[in-house]
């Protein structure tokens, strides 16, 4: 069975490798890094390669999820609508192989694209700024790949759980809007209703716990730990939450020693949740459905 998963994954990867869209997305990521580096090199004096590395987290937190969602949202449902899934399931691979093969294949695609962008960043850092912040780079790259892979998993999970392309796109776009633009409303909103005021810096623990499940702030928190300088999450704000709190990590907002589930490393668990939960739901629905 595992054999089939890797066979399907390799086919997926090869298929995606011929996709113009994918190359365009990779080009976008790489292009962004190049433009960022050259622009900073041109305009800012006295900056180290390690600091520049921190700067590119700002655009990456927006672009990586979009690229990963685009790579994944059609994975299963696209084949279902075109009918190629019948060709695939007529062969020995079963539905489990299809979902997890596709998941692996698409995650590999996103990981490759992100890795390529980071290789370019490393080279440009050395050429333009004269140093190779290897440890920062490696940790930042690994977190970024996990970030991208989580969104790819989310999208593949959604694509397995729905019956039409439109639904898949609607859910994926909806979830992205939720984490980017509506998060404060759905977390700080209830807080306001319960306590009669928006969450202060030292908000209730449950709120800090729930609020950190935003994958974008999780990403910036994690990245902030490994690169030089601050990394701010770029999100829509409505003023419900204390403005000062927006750049702080849950652990910083907790009075005293933060419990494990509010510490920065817990962000890795959060990102894994965004990968595992949608895949589990999508997989369950896919195994039960009529094609």
């Amino acid at each position: 069975m595992t054999d089939h998963i890797t066979t399907v994954a390799r086919k997926e990867f090869e298929d995606a490798g011929r996709s113009k869209l994918l190359w365009a997305l990779t080009g976008l990521l790489v292009g962004l890094v190049i433009v960022g580096y050259v622009a900073i090199w041109y305009t800012v004096d006295d900056v180290t390669a390690a600091e520049v590395l921190g700067f590119i987290a700002l655009p990456l937190q927006t672009i990586i999820p979009i690229a990963a969602l685009i790579v994944g949202y059609m994975a299963v449902v696209g084949e279902r609508r075109s009918g190629s899934i019948k060709l695939l399931l007529g062969l020995p691979p079963n539905r489990t192989d299809v979902v997890f093969g596709k998941l692996l294949g698409r995650m590999a695609v996103v990981a490759t694209a992100v890795a390529l962008a980071f290789v370019v960043a490393l080279v440009l850092g050395a050429v333009l700024f004269g140093s190779v912040p290897f440890v920062d780079w490696l940790a930042f790259g690994a977190i970024s790949i996990l970030f991208g892979v989580s969104f790819a998993g989310l999208a593949v999970g959604v694509s397995a759980g729905v019956s039409t392309r439109g639904k898949s796109m609607a859910i994926v776009v909806g979830l992205y809007m939720l984490v980017l633009a509506l998060w404060e409303l759905v977390t700080a909103g209830p807080y306001y209703l319960i306590y009669g005021e928006g969450p202060p810096v030292e908000a209730e623990t449950w709120y800090l716990f729930v609020d950190q499940f935003n994958p974008i702030t999780t990403y910036t928190t994690l990245v902030g730990n490994v690169v030089e300088g601050e990394v701010f999450p770029f999100m829509f704000q409505y003023g419900l939450e204390d403005f000062e709190a927006s750049g702080m990590t849950p652990a910083e907002r907790y009075a005293g020693d933060a419990p494990f589930y509010l510490q920065d490393w817990f962000g890795l668990v959060v990102l894994l949740c965004w990968l595992v939960v949608p895949v589990a739901i999508g997989y369950y629905r896919f195994t039960k459905t009529d094609l």
């Binding site: 009918g83 019948k86 060709l87 062969l91 020995p92």
Partner: protein, 326 residues
């Protein structure tokens, strides 16, 4: 052992019953044609055999394995040409075959399969997205043939093929049957089925309305035929003569043409001699065997409209085939 066996197999979609209490047994080694008009439930049945869809009630076994519980045992032993499938547009035809070979852990040579299904090496190198419907059908057939399956399940294999391609498909089915492969294939066009099948089953509105050999079905319609005679003078005057011949069930006259429905084949010659004896001059003569087509039409409850259509199909096979291509 039965290659396929369904017991009370039923599938409903809300109010609609797509397959209704289907009991069907396909023996090992036979070529079985699954016939029925579009929407009769053929694909739904096949989808349940392949675990693409789950039965509402009843069960099915394929090669002795339960179609739902043991689906993983079935797929390596079965070659499938699904209905309404698509290829991976960016991957080459050859890559498709290699993928099939890989998943079946087979040792087939892609070249040999390409040749069997009539795809050239140049075709195989192109992305399958550039293929015509017929070429996709050939490619998928090739994928189904990988690893010499015990059972071939083909859903509308002739769709998208030109008459030449359909003949090749029929030859291929026969060749597979000669190798001992059981073949189960569906079609809504009888002539594609009757040429190669040992037995056919006719499905209509989810129900099995007939299962028999081709000969058995012919017998059940009595080897009937219609004979059309063009006479030198008005046909009216010879009505009674023709009616008097044993084995003639009905006679109609129109102008100089006499149309006789015949139940006993021997009656054909008798009509000719009887008319000759009665002084009629026969200018022309045409015999149409009542085809299985009309039986099919009757079984599937066609009525006048479909009957007319089937007559068209007989008269114009090209039109029938282009319809099949859709």
């Amino acid at each position: 052992m039965a290659a396929i066996e369904t017991t009370g197999l039923t599938k409903t979609y809300g109010e609609l019953t797509a397959v209704d209490d289907l009991d069907l047994t396909i023996e090992d080694g036979e070529v079985f044609g699954f016939l029925g008009p579009n929407g009769a439930g053929k694909s739904t049945t096949i989808n349940m055999l392949l675990d693409f869809a789950r039965p509402t009630s009843g069960s099915a076994t394929v090669l002795g394995y339960d179609a739902q519980d043991d689906a993983d045992e079935i797929s390596p032993r079965v070659g499938v040409l699904p209905e309404g499938f698509d290829v991976y547009p960016r991957l080459s035809g050859r890559r498709h075959l290699e993928f099939a070979i890989e998943t079946k852990a087979a040792t087939d040579d892609p070249e040999a399969i390409l040749e069997r299904v009539g795809l050239s090496a140049e075709d195989a190198a192109r992305p399958a997205g550039d293929y015509s419907k017929g070429m996709r059908q050939r490619l998928a057939t090739g994928m189904a043939l990988v690893d010499d399956p015990d059972l071939l399940i083909m859903d509308e294999p002739s769709s998208g093929l030109d008459p030449h391609g359909i003949r090749e498909m029929q030859e291929l089915v026969r060749a597979e049957a000669d190798r001992g492969t059981t073949v189960f294939f569906s079609s809504h066009i009888l002539e594609h089925v009757e040429a190669v099948c040992d037995r056919i089953g006719v499905l209509n509105e989810g129900r099995l309305v007939a299962v028999d050999t081709i000969d058995g079905l012919r017998e059940s319609i009595g080897g009937g035929a219609t004979m059309e005679l063009v006479l030198a003078d008005a046909a009216d005057g010879h009505l009674e003569t023709a009616r008097g011949v044993a084995g003639v069930t009905d006679v109609a006259a129109a102008g100089q043409t006499l149309e006789c429905s015949i139940a006993d084949p021997a009656a054909k010659a008798t009509i000719v001699t009887a008319l000759d004896d009665a002084g009629a001059t026969i200018r022309d003569l045409q015999i149409d065997d009542v085809s299985l087509e009309s039986l099919f039409t009757t079984l599937t409850n066609g009525g006048g409209e479909i009957e007319g259509q089937s007559a068209d199909e007989t008269a114009n096979p090209a039109a029938a085939k282009s319809e099949a291509a859709e």
